[in-house]
Amino acid sequence: MEFTFGEEHEALRNTVRSFLDAESDEAAVRTAMASERGHDPGLWRRMAGEIGLAGLVVPEVHGGAGMGPVEALVVFEELGRSLACVPALSSYFAANVVLEVGSEADQAKLLPDLASGRALLTVAHVDAGGRWDLGVVSNEARREGEGSLLDGDWRYVLDGHVADRILAVARTSDGLGVFQVEADAPGVSRKALPGLDLTRRLADLRLDRVAARRLGEGDARAGLERAWLRTIAALAAEQTGAAGRCLELATAYAKSRYQFGRPIGSFQAIKHQCADLLVKVELMRSAAWNAAFVAASGEGDLEVAVRMARSYCAEAGFEVAAQALQIHGGMGFTWEHPIHLYLKRAKSSELLFGSAIQHRERLAERLAL
């Protein structure tokens, strides 16, 4: 796999970074995370309209930017860096699911609203058992006339408390199905979860005989898997961006903080911690790039690339944030310093989409170990 970024990628990175620096600085993040929704809907609509982030991978014909996993890599690295409180991951997941599973008509119906930021779309697949694994779906859909009826609990739905529509995954007689549920439909109840990470919110969803429309035809398992893996790849990029920012913060602090008449970064104890963070961030970057380029090329084993990225970035992302906090000393333990926001995001990103151990086990199977 060769990693080639063009000028358009640099331009994209600059655009996103400039936008986020201006519109989602730390103060904005703190305001958004203290709000009930957990994000600023106006900001998301502007990100959708001005720089096309909502419909990043939505084809242009449906109002999107028509980009792919490598562009998503660039965007999510920047989103991770800024901790912007926006429903980017949920939207990216949903867009990929619609593209993989939906018919042309489904795409035409769902994607324009998603791309414009008019309607938030999210995916619900974790069942009451709490397992992040498309192989573990216990909720079932029942046929009722032309449509379907859904009953059950879906957990940890990204931005589920504010989504306008939900794509709920359920078992059907012919494999997995993806069902479009309007958030205001009768029988839908959802509960915003108090999060460890205040910058990305989750909700539990309960459906009680909710009428739902199925996307596409036949078993959606393979398409869902691809969309799921691509979303995890984007998350790995986000984790990398966040970890890179933690390294920047720790390094800057180590240069400017003096104790015993020296910058603390001149002490090997701190310097070597920073070096170890650099190593981790570089390996995370390799992992995230590899996953994105494999996804974009269609060559290579997407599952292997993504599970490698997932298992490494989940653990290293947290370790980097935790050690960066340590380098900040007491300051890093205060609410007013931003490092704890990264720590909490890192832990929550580690917990989303399954543990590193779980992904390594699947890797072992793929590697015939």
């Binding site: 397992r131 989750l202 903080r257 104790q259 917990l351």
Partner: protein, 415 residues
């Protein structure tokens, strides 16, 4: 049994406690009345001299007093919780350094917790390097005028008195220009603000000192000799901390309970985990349990060695291991909880609240965040490794940029 030549033996001491209880019984009188009587009987700090709440005995005998009170009373006034800094660190410092009038005025009110105490040493620019602090105290006639900012002051919002370390001579090398003051926290110019932590709690405070006036007789030790007084305080901090129960083992025990009650083999914790996943997690759980047990044994060895008069490096090891282990244990607890660790039920209050009832899960999640500070507070793990390397193993120190130069010339960056 004990090594010191005691003025009175254990039985006589128990008898004296029973005299106290006859005079004032905790089940019958209020806290202040009882504790004042305990002080007057010399049973507050038995190792303090007579007339200062003590009897001149060895400190180990305090346990006899507590035991005898507990045998005869249902009520125990756990004042170490109300006024830990005053009782553990303030009192010995006052005893060693304060003028007689202050000893008489302050010591009983410390013991009754009528006066809560706090410690004002750390500053935003002086963390690991406490002696580098910048708060200035300038003479004004007989008084001192103090300006500066202190941080990490537990209980400052409740305190009547503070132990304050300030710089009185910036032209001297850093340790030599410090003086130690008793600060009345009710003085004008003292402003206390809660310092919110990443947990959303405020265990600590920032204290701003703006032209705060301190009478000249409230200096402890000589002007410029404050560092020596501070060492008395800090040594008692270690003793006080050493007296706490085993927090790390507490955490590891919680982890084992969490595993048994809500772990992968429980309905709530199953989460579809595979046998292999469970095996990997369990191996880690046992590993940290073992380390935690070994830490407990190490602490036990320290106590035995101190009793045998041959203290080794074990005590300093404990702080480091405990801090690092607490982080590991709580990280692992979140892994055991699994997806549900995404949910933080207690939220981030950002106001001064006492913790309410918490489930095992809620404890684990809170401890996960709280333990981040364990390797920072009371000496960072980096400082602990320096201490172990230099004081225990005798490895040479680093070249120093801040020795033998006037404090004001020490590089300070933009702290």
């Amino acid at each position: 049994m004990s090594g010191g030549g005691e003025a009175i033996g254990e039985e006589a001491l128990r008898a004296r406690v029973r005299e106290l209880l006859a005079a004032a019984h905790p089940d019958e009188v209020d806290r202040v009345t009882f504790r004042r009587a305990q002080y007057d009987h010399g049973l507050a700090w038995v190792h303090f001299p007579e007339g200062y709440g003590g009897l001149g005995l060895s400190p180990g005998l305090q346990a006899i007093v507590d035991d005898e009170i507990a045998r005869h009373a249902r009520t125990t006034y756990a004042d170490l919780v109300l006024n830990p800094i005053g009782i553990g660190m303030g009192a010995p410092t006052v005893l060693a350094y304060a003028p007689e009038a202050y000893k008489q005025a302050l010591l009983p009110r410390i013991f009754t917790a009528e006066d809560v105490w706090c410690q004002l040493f750390s500053e935003p620019g002086a963390g690991s390097d406490v002696a580098g602090l910048a708060t200035r105290a300038v003479r004004d006639g007989d008084d001192w005028i103090v300006n500066g900012q202190k941080v990490w002051a537990s209980l400052a919002h409740r305190a009547s008195w503070a132990m304050l370390l300030a710089r009185t001579d910036p032209d001297k090398p850093k340790h030599d220009g410090l003086s130690y003051f008793l600060l009345d926290m009710r003085s004008p110019g003292v402003e206390v603000r809660p310092l919110y932590q990443i947990t959303g709690d405020a265990e600590f405070n920032e204290v701003f000192l703006n032209d705060v006036r301190i009478p000249g007789d409230r200096i402890l030790g000589k002007e410029g000799a404050g560092w020596r007084v501070a060492i008395t305080t800090l040594m008692n901090e270690r003793v006080a901390i050493g007296g706490y129960s085993r927090p790390g083992q507490g955490m590891a025990e919680k982890l084992l309970r969490l595993w048994r009650e809500e772990g992968p083999s429980s309905p709530r914790g199953a989460q579809g985990r595979s046998a292999a996943e469970i095996a990997v997690l369990r191996d880690e759980v046992v590993r940290v349990h073992v380390e935690s047990e070994l830490l407990g044994i190490t602490n036990q060895r320290t106590k035995d060695a101190m009793r045998a008069g041959t203290p080794g490096p074990e005590g300093s090891v404990a702080k480091l291991v405990q801090a690092e282990l607490n982080k590991e244990i709580t990280e692992l607890a979140l892994s055991v909880i699994g997806s549900d660790a995404l949910v933080y039920e207690t939220g981030y209050p950002l106001e001064r609240v006492e913790a309410g009832e918490r489930s095992l899960r809620e404890f684990a999640k809170h401890d996960f965040l709280r333990s981040r500070a364990n390797s920072i507070e009371g000496g960072t793990s980096e400082v602990m490794r320096n201490i172990l390397g230099e004081r225990m193993l005798g490895l040479p120190g680093e070249p120093r940029a801040d020795k033998d130069v006037p404090w004001k010339e020490i590089p300070r960056g933009r702290a």
